[in-house]
Amino acid sequence: MDPEFRGDADHHDGTSDATPGGYPTQRRPGELAFALLLTLGSLCLLYNAYGISGVEALSAPGSVPMATSLVMVIAAGLVALRTARLPLVASETLAKDILPVMVILFIGFLIAFGLLLKPLGFVPTAALFLTVSIKVLARKSWLYTFAVALGSLAVIWVVFRVVFTVLLPAGIVPEAEFIQFFRSLLAGGAA
């Protein structure tokens, strides 16, 4: 088959292990920097692994970490060397094809989600996250945004809180009281 074919929606971004991203004979913007970063990171890991137990014995706790980080250093170094020799993809830029503003924005949203999850609680944080991200992505009216965001949040909340009984941070919303109210309502209705 044509190794370049990766489905219509793909743009050399890698859809699976069978069809990884990138180009076989060119390098993408930032690819070399990434490979160098991996090499550097692997070297740090190797140093750290040496510190675990040194080279005292083949069965020491540090032997497998040392072997793996050594493999990482060699593999990343080889990748960096090979990548350095390839010509840059002419039609791509870092800002347009690898790390568009939208991706950075969403990484920011997710960090904010993590920061707010504990203090604010799951329901308000998720409502905020869904509203903002759907508004940004769909660019439709606020009515549509609110309806879709809150509607889907309600479904998710019921499924996970009630069906899967997942504990989520309650935060400022009196969730337990709400569920209790709901239960007593149902119990009252059944009686």
């Binding site: 088959m1 074919f5 489905g7 219509d8 929606a9 971004d13 890698g14 859809t15 699976s16 292990d17 069978a18 069809t19 990884p20 991203g21 990138g22 993408r28 930032g30 690819e31 990434f34 490979a35 890991l45 692994a49 675990i52 069965s59 706790p61 540090g62 032997s63 497998v64 970490p65 793996t68 980080s69 493999v71 990482m72 593999a75 080889l78 990748v79 090979r82 690898i98 568009p100 991706v103 969403f106 990484i107 997710l110 960090i111 993590g114 999850l117 504990k118 998720a126 996250f129 759907i134 992505l137 769909a138 879709v148 965001a149 998710i156 996970f160 899967f164 997942v166 504990l167 989520l168």
Partner: protein
């Protein structure tokens, strides 16, 4: 007789039967919606089902797995967007068929062939696994170590990408799995003296990050892509059509089972190899490949579903995952206190026969749901991505948080999500990372056991390898993977098989 009743568990308990049905139904849609993958769904599901009993949790996952592998074909045919990685090859001939107005027929044949492939996979699993498990009892620690290595290496060597990147990904996974306190001596490893690192990195956070967040971030690019609606006519294919492709489907099912059973490689690779095989053996297709050849649909779709049954063989008998999804299922079994490996088959054969029964049920439901409900299907698949992507991200956060009720896990998920995003873009496979994480402990423990039993002597260790046929075969396979990537291999191949250029040229003519 016990085995028979264990096999029947799923049929006698309505709750489990229902969960398999729900799982399969959900799986078909998860597989079909581009951006939602089975790997992602199963990794998020672990964190939601860990408070359940193990049977219901496995029922749901098995259903999603079976349905999801099939579901991707629908979007591949209708929209030319493979809904799941295993359907990449399906789009090549499925979409041209849909353009000709034969979408219904394409979906029908795909469904029946997926069922057939799935069935072959399950039968092979049921017959082969008990043998493999019996055989596996004789495995030495070094054999486990070599098998784990082989699994991590195979993904990189069988895919289209670079093996070196695959090796890096696998080693990275092993390193991630080693973080925390060493289980044997309690020494801290890769903790950088940080307290939060001592407990290790939650593998669920790594999985959800790599398969959920990174995928969702990649999909941000495709938000505005409009789906093209296709007219769908009669779906149920005629018996004659099925009979015509039966010989091919048997061959490609076999490819699927074997690739699935090899540690590490799953349906996506099986489908591509089967497509290649169909192209080679079909001398005179009615329609050329790439323009809507039926063979081009039959081959990948039988293979990817056959790979499901295949992937369970090493998972259950050896504790070594057959692909990324079974890697995650091993994680799920760990959480439920089960330890997949030859002892599981001996101590709890019920678990194995239950999985076989659940797979079979899922396969039948896949056929039923596959041949019905097409109108509803087109509606759901057209759900805008501007809504789906935020929902995936939300579920990923909830999933990562829920296992340990820890915000730290959410951050790990984010870190690995962003890291995985770059890995995807630069051609590093993600499967070996997950395999490495799951196999890290097995590799480490078996290496240390092996080398201690050889009194820390490398010479004796290799002596042991060369003294046992199994170890030798595994060792040679590992070496061959490396050799196959060197220029020496290409040179040898050229000498043995004649000029590679001439051979390829001839094959090219045959195809036309």
């Amino acid at each position: 007789m016990d085995a028979f009743w264990a096999f029947m568990t799923v049929f006698t308990q309505p709750q489990l039967f229902g969960l398999v049905a729900i799982g399969t139904f959900a799986g078909i849609y998860i597989g079909a919606i581009p951006g939602l993958s089975v790997t992602m769904a199963v990794s998020i599901l672990i964190s939601f089902t860990f408070s359940w009993d193990v049977y219901p949790a496995i029922s749901l996952m098995v259903g999603i797995y079976m349905g999801g592998v099939y579901g991707g074909s629908r979007t591949a045919i209708l929209l030319n967007i493979p809904g799941a990685p295993s359907a990449i090859a399906t789009a090549m001939d499925g979409y041209p068929m849909a353009q000709r107005g034969e979408a219904g027929q394409a979906i029908g044949v795909t469904t029946v062939m997926s069922f057939f492939g799935g069935l072959v996979g399950i039968i092979v699993l049921a017959v082969a696994a008990p043998f493999v498990a019996g055989f596996a009892l004789r495995f030495q620690p070094r054999d486990y170590m070599l098998l784990a290595l082989l699994g991590i290496l195979l993904v990189g060597s069988l895919s289209n990408g670079s093996l070196v990147k695959g090796i890096f990904a696998g080693a990275l996974g092993i390193a991630i799995g080693a973080v925390g306190r060493d289980p044997l001596t309690f020494t801290e490893r890769f903790t950088f003296d940080l307290k939060i690192m001592q407990g290790g990195i939650s593998f669920i956070a790594v999985m959800i990050g790599m398969f959920g967040v990174s995928e969702a971030l990649s999909q941000l690019r495709n938000v505005d892509k409009q789906a093209v609606r296709q007219k769908i006519d009669k779906i149920v294919p005629s018996f004659g059509t099925i009979r015509k492709y039966l010989p091919l489907s048997l061959q490609t099912s076999t490819i699927g089972v074997v690739i699935g059973a090899l540690p590490g490689t799953g349906g996506d690779i099986a489908a591509l190899l089967a497509y290649d095989h169909a192209k080679r053996v079909t001398k005179n297709p009615e329609t050329p490949f790439g323009q809507g050849a039926m063979e081009g649909l039959v081959a990948p779709e039988t293979a990817n579903n056959a790979a499901v049954g295949g992937a369970f063989i090493p998972m259950i008998t050896l504790g070594i995952p057959g692909d990324a999804v079974t890697a995650i299922m091993i994680g799920a079994l760990f959480i439920h206190g089960l330890n997949p490996g030859p002892m599981l088959m001996i101590d709890q054969p019920d678990m194995f026969w239950f999985i076989v029964g659940a797979l079979l049920t899922a396969n039948v439901f896949m056929l039923i749901f596959g041949l019905t409900g097409i109108k509803l299907f087109t509606r759901i698949v057209e759900m805008p991505r501007s809504v789906i992507i935020p929902l995936i991200l939300l579920l990923s956060v909830v999933g990562a948080y829920a296992v340990n009720n820890s915000i730290t896990d959410v951050y790990w998920m984010l870190i690995f999500g962003v890291f995985g995003y770059f890995m995807r873009h630069y051609g590093y496979p993600l499967g070996p990372v997950i395999l490495g994480v799951i196999l890290s402990r097995l590799l480490d423990e078996n290496w240390r056991r092996a080398i201690i039993s050889e009194r820390e002597d490398m010479g004796r260790f290799f002596g042991g390898i060369f003294g046992s046929p199994l170890s030798l075969v595994l060792f040679v396979s590992v070496i061959l993977i490396f050799v196959s990537q060197t220029p020496l291999w290409a040179h040898m191949k050229a000498r043995v098989f004649g000029q590679p250029g001439a051979h390829d040229h001839k094959a090219g003519i045959d195809r036309r």
